[in-house]
Symmetry: C2
Subunit: 199 residues, 2 copies
Amino acid sequence: MPPARQDEDTSPRRADAERNISTIMATALELFSTNAGVSMADVARSAGLGRVTVYAHFPSRAALLQALVRHSMAQAEQSMDAELTDGDAPADRMLARVIGATWRVLDRYRKLRVHALSELGSEWLSEQHDPVFQRVEKLIARGREQGVFRRDQPIGWMVTVVFSLIHTAGDEVEAGRLSSGEAPGLLRSTLGSALSPPA
Amino acid sequence: MPPARQDEDTSPRRADAERNISTIMATALELFSTNAGVSMADVARSAGLGRVTVYAHFPSRAALLQALVRHSMAQAEQSMDAELTDGDAPADRMLARVIGATWRVLDRYRKLRVHALSELGSEWLSEQHDPVFQRVEKLIARGREQGVFRRDQPIGWMVTVVFSLIHTAGDEVEAGRLSSGEAPGLLRSTLGSALSPPA
DNA sequence: CCTAAACCGTACAGGTGTGTACGAGTTATT
DNA sequence: AATAACTCGTACACACCTGTACGGTTTAGG
């Protein structure tokens, strides 16, 4: 996790501080993504640092969570854009690739979502989701014009269905009812049918 | 909420106790279903009772939550069975009706799910979900034999998709991005496509 | 009407978490 | 080498929640 800093850094930090911030975020991401009921003390101990040091860099628990969400979102965007390079392939093929990419990112970070949802509010989380949301929205809009996606539903609902099922697949994997390998295939076939024009 | 008691009552309770139990469950159901971060004190105050009185009937917070989940599950089963009376209509038509029934029940109780999930564990919740889960599973199995449902996916995944999307629609309504009236229609069309045999 | 059941408020014990204060030690950087 | 940045541990203040104990009061029901 080398590029841990997210915003503009007004104060030039020392190298060890920089390093610790990275460690904190990496450890916290690990903890928050898998376990539930994680405290700041847990994060500090797991990172091998003092609890106070953590507060020196992240003034509150909420601030840390926000940084984590922003980081994972940025990673998701990046991962999606890497898949969206060739401009105008058929949208359904494109979506299949995007599903694979999004799945990989979301397969980590699973539980981070619920933490953020309950502690930061759904509105804030929606705002953060917006960029990646819009990418899929545009993709579906293009697929509609190409005739490969259905036109009888609000586009917002269709986007929601995409992400909802991806999240669900993650939950299923975590519950042991699904293997991480077969998830993308199921997602592709289910979403393919769900988004195609009805007969 | 007159039939509040769920199990066998070994000890004959007094009438006011009976009444208070009903009040507690109704109030708690209301609170847990809409708000987040509800404490026992909140429940008691909202029910107009002393906090100690609540503990007199439900020995722990977990016990109260369990009773609530069981109650809502029983309601869901009942609501589904009312829709499954006529034995062998085509399964896809049948599913459409079941969606409507399940939707109505789930439209209340929305947030209760997350509370139960985080505080009672996903395994326990799965056990409670099992009866209603199996009803849909059987319905899908019959639909497969009738040729109206797809056969290229594990049946467990298909059932999961059904409930996942219903839950998602509930979240969308709560977020104000969807009206409670149009949800069933969207669910029916989306699930219809998702479960039908692929082209 | 009388008893036992059920209620009330208050208080206590124990736990967990967040955020801050302080003084002293360590390390990077110039 | 000297300074400023950083880190450490400990401790404190505060808040919140759960569960229990106690003594007094109301109320249902035979």
